[in-house]
Symmetry: D3
Amino acid sequence: MEQTRYQRGFDKLSEIDGEAGHNVINNLASICPDLAKFIIEFPFGDIYSREDLDLKSREIATVSALTAMGNCAPQLAVHIHGALNIGCSPKEVTEVILQMAVYAGFPAAINGMLVAKQVFEERGIITP
Amino acid sequence: MEQTRYQRGFDKLSEIDGEAGHNVINNLASICPDLAKFIIEFPFGDIYSREDLDLKSREIATVSALTAMGNCAPQLAVHIHGALNIGCSPKEVTEVILQMAVYAGFPAAINGMLVAKQVFEERGIITP
Amino acid sequence: MEQTRYQRGFDKLSEIDGEAGHNVINNLASICPDLAKFIIEFPFGDIYSREDLDLKSREIATVSALTAMGNCAPQLAVHIHGALNIGCSPKEVTEVILQMAVYAGFPAAINGMLVAKQVFEERGIITP
Amino acid sequence: MEQTRYQRGFDKLSEIDGEAGHNVINNLASICPDLAKFIIEFPFGDIYSREDLDLKSREIATVSALTAMGNCAPQLAVHIHGALNIGCSPKEVTEVILQMAVYAGFPAAINGMLVAKQVFEERGIITP
Amino acid sequence: MEQTRYQRGFDKLSEIDGEAGHNVINNLASICPDLAKFIIEFPFGDIYSREDLDLKSREIATVSALTAMGNCAPQLAVHIHGALNIGCSPKEVTEVILQMAVYAGFPAAINGMLVAKQVFEERGIITP
Amino acid sequence: MEQTRYQRGFDKLSEIDGEAGHNVINNLASICPDLAKFIIEFPFGDIYSREDLDLKSREIATVSALTAMGNCAPQLAVHIHGALNIGCSPKEVTEVILQMAVYAGFPAAINGMLVAKQVFEERGIITP
């Protein structure tokens, strides 16, 4: 059963975040492998694998929250990749980040947008 | 033109938040009417009125961010109403809030869920 | 195996938080029973059950973090009960909260202290 | 010397916050008198007593920060009283809070404004 | 009318933040030009252009809030430049940042002070 | 008496944070020496010098809070050094940080863990 959670989580992590997700896991493995294991099991095995909300909406929720919280740029970058990987358009990503100016203020939106800018450049996405 | 922003914002506020939105505006009118005016013009006239992201995704982004920020329960209640008003299912709302346990911790998710519980009770929604 | 995580978590929750913990779980059951289940499985089944850090230190860490975050008074109350339940003295609890004035500012420390005051009164603890 | 810090701080607290400040101190005295003592000595004895920034600017800085942080409404109320006590106009207070919509988002500004509304009502201030 | 908001905002941005402000706008233009436009129109065209609070007090409020929030160092740097541009003394800036140790804790004050240190060095300001 | 607070604080700072603490103080000395002085006097002279909570518990509280707050990596690094200096094991440090996934979310725990990784590498600590 645990095996199932881990396996289901690893597959979901790979589907959403791809190489960027694997890098996070590998980076943690040498300091606290159980944190890496829990990331796979709980967020990806338990949460992202749930039905009742499509994956695109889940990534919109995550990009929005990470932009608003404003103190986790590396995770925001991973999830902007994830949002694009599972079918969000670049425009949808920037709209979500822009909207955070309303709820978390302009600095959070600006800093989130500059993370998106870097991700888009890595992927060769031309905007706007 | 300003008239247009205000009018477009007021219509959008009414569409999304209905009476709960009007109450916020009226409550502010006696202390700082310009804050009420700016809420109508900028978030609703400028942001929610934009194309390129559907209204349902916008409300998912807002419910997610307000849950994660964790210090704005009244606004979260208004936007859970808003999410339901524009077509999110109760289940989609609770999925978004649940997901915030991953990004903002369990206390934020618990407190957000209890706001949803109250909104659902006001609307006579039976869960789960 | 899942059964084990849940059972281990439920026992740990009962040991630490007692009735206050059960109330949180029951309160969530009617809106999102899976959030209640995840609370039992992950924080209590996976984290608090770990060795390598004694339970008293874990509660000190939690009281400290919740005081510093400053937006989760209900959870802070539950964990001040928990800290006292598993052997922290009232003085140790107030010292942790006091120390947060340094890291999160005086408002966070004051608000945390007033939560402790209420918990102490419920338990008939006389301070200082 | 300590006596001097405490005395200087108590006088400054009384000048700025008056009865609202004394209430905070008294409320803490029964749970952690040293927190009350440190509030008098450090913020008021060490910081507010400094030259190089006038008291009005100090209260503007505090009202602004507490509005933006968004999780310390009781302290915001005390310092809105303080700002008015030392010569800020009601309009200056609401302008500072309004401006926080830009930096911390509209929910923070709305919640701060509603704290101001309550303080103004207590003092019989008619706005706008 | 929109033209007026934009023009008024651009002039105010130029007055306060000068080149640092223009850099922010230009940096955003290639990813989301509308965010750049909204920054000019709302914060600068609508808020900083208001009467009833002098510009120096507005910059004190902003430096204070950004220091306390602690997750927007680039914006803090821009507004320390802004505060100095419109007549705050270096000493007034450091006093505001120092005061945040009280409300947001010492780490926020230290990190804010190190941003000020860098800005002062860029401008050739000798302190203390 | 002030001399005593400063001297007591300086000794405590040296005991806990050693060279990393002195670097913070020296770095601030050229921009705001009074902030450096207050850090020595209040956190270290007044708080860390108190009895009723052992130093190891104090460092656990600080590492926990700084991880959860998520916007003060430099201070977290200093206090992970401090925790190790006064007798916490590397495993206890990583357990505290891991636990913050529950209260502040996975991004805060991941970012805190990567700060610990760097500190451990500086000290030649092999994990896990």
